[in-house]
Amino acid sequence: MIQAAGNADPANARPIVQAVRVWKSYGATSVLRGVSFDLRPHQVLCIMGASGSGKSTLLRCINHLERVDAGRIWIDGKLIGYRPEGHKLFELPEREVCKRRAEVGMVFQHFNLFKHMTVLENVSYAPIKVKRVDVAKARERANQLIARVGLADKAAAYPSQLSGGQQQRVAIARALAMTPKLILFDEPTSALDPELVKEVLDVIRELATDGISMIVVTHEVGFAREAADCIAVMHEGLIVESGAPDQMIDQPTHPRTREFLSQVL
């Protein structure tokens, strides 16, 4: 088990995410083969690794978009998907699963903005429908968040009228609107044109300095060095190496880490 090197938090603070020997397979292929890690509150974990190494699947498991086959994941001390009672695990009803999911934000590689809604509607929809926030209040807060990601003039636009970078910033605002305990970023800049990558990374970096707990799957080594508290490298469904960014990037010990870094650097 690895631990993010804490800056401010005492090492014994309750982890915001704790994964223990998580297994997941699709048919005969095992995508995750016993992944374990901890993430302390207010910290940023960057997960790197070649495609097919299980990074995205791990994120999807953390948000319960996929059901794990074996192992446990806790978020803020709560077991995902089940209610433990004695030696039994009771599967949670949909309502509970939704409530837990609402506490974890997710930003996708392909943005996945709701195409039939304006930017403002995209950001305010879930607070209104899931948290039952008053419409006027939800809009007000949505407008603040849209301004925060630098798109105040685009609130009435539809996603199809925005660039990829702008869409991804809206997606981040949409995740923030639910005031999540944790945000998961699944390759947030991989689908972007190179000149648009920076505007999105800037927003994520700012969130990191604000102290939001984050797990970022990314190939942006520069970003990881700057923003991450911990980097983990995945290979064939396992975390093969993890540690502080400088150490991981400058003196990788595992051959897979070196191989991966030589490809992306």
């Binding site: 948000n63 978009l65 999911r101 392909h110 996945n112 899931v130 995740a175 639910m178």
Partner: protein, 330 residues
Amino acid sequence: MTLAPPTSERTGAEADGAPAHDEIIPVRHPGRWVGAVVITVLFAMLVHSLVTDPRYQWGVVGQYFGSDLILSGLRLTLELTVLSMLIGIVVGVTVAVMRLSPNPILSKGSALYIWFFRGTPVLVQLFFWYNIAALYPRVSIGVPFGPAFVGGSTNSIVTPLIAALLGLGLNEGAYMAEIVRAGILSVERGQIDAASALGLSRLKTMKGIVLPQAMRVIIPPTGNETIGMLKTTSLASALSLSELLFSAQIVYERTFQTIPLLIVASLWYLIVTTVLTVGQMRIESYFGRSVGTPGGGRRKRARSYLRAALRFHVDAQELLTLGNSGRRGR
């Protein structure tokens, strides 16, 4: 091979009144000529007979076109169309959502529904509903296999109108289910992931995210279904419901003016179909708004279809006036 001379030379030549040096001769299409002539002659024969043949009895057509009987028949036809489509859409959405459910009983059940209602002719289904009392003389609400709370004789509940609505609506539901299912499947998986990640339940995701986006795919065929339904309601005449066709039949069985009254009915069907088609274009452009070019990319496309249809018409006209010189002038 030489290229066309520069423009300055050409305008000079035209100023002299002489033809341009390199004239472009369009490809001739003799096949189109033959086709156009054949069609034109046939069309002319039809128009000629429409105008001159007394057996069309246009006077009778005019006499009954706006008559109360026909108009009340038209109203029932419209009511049947709207109500059957409503039943069809509600049933269709339900069956489609069931079909995509992870629960095998629900999905197999809806597959069975679609199989049955698409697999038997709607006229047969109409007769079934009309004669349902022979199968179940009483209907009641109560505990299954137990006591009944309210009930009545089937004949008093399933009137010919209800039988027609059940027959047409439930049959339509099977077709709508397939249309809605195709629409739902057309929405990207990522949209559902994003909604789930925000904590939206399956039902809320379906209502708020998936179905509105599926509309773009669902609306055009639903328009076709509505237009189809308008005409399918004429089958209700077999249940002695006095919709448009049956109203016309009532008259011609009395007066033996069969053809003119069938023309009256056809004209009304054509008029309503035309109105529905225009409405469909409007709705399509509304639901296409946030996708692609904002503000009615679909309407543009609908217009271009219309234009394509008109173009054929223009082509034909062009050919008719084609004293060859007219073409060169262009």
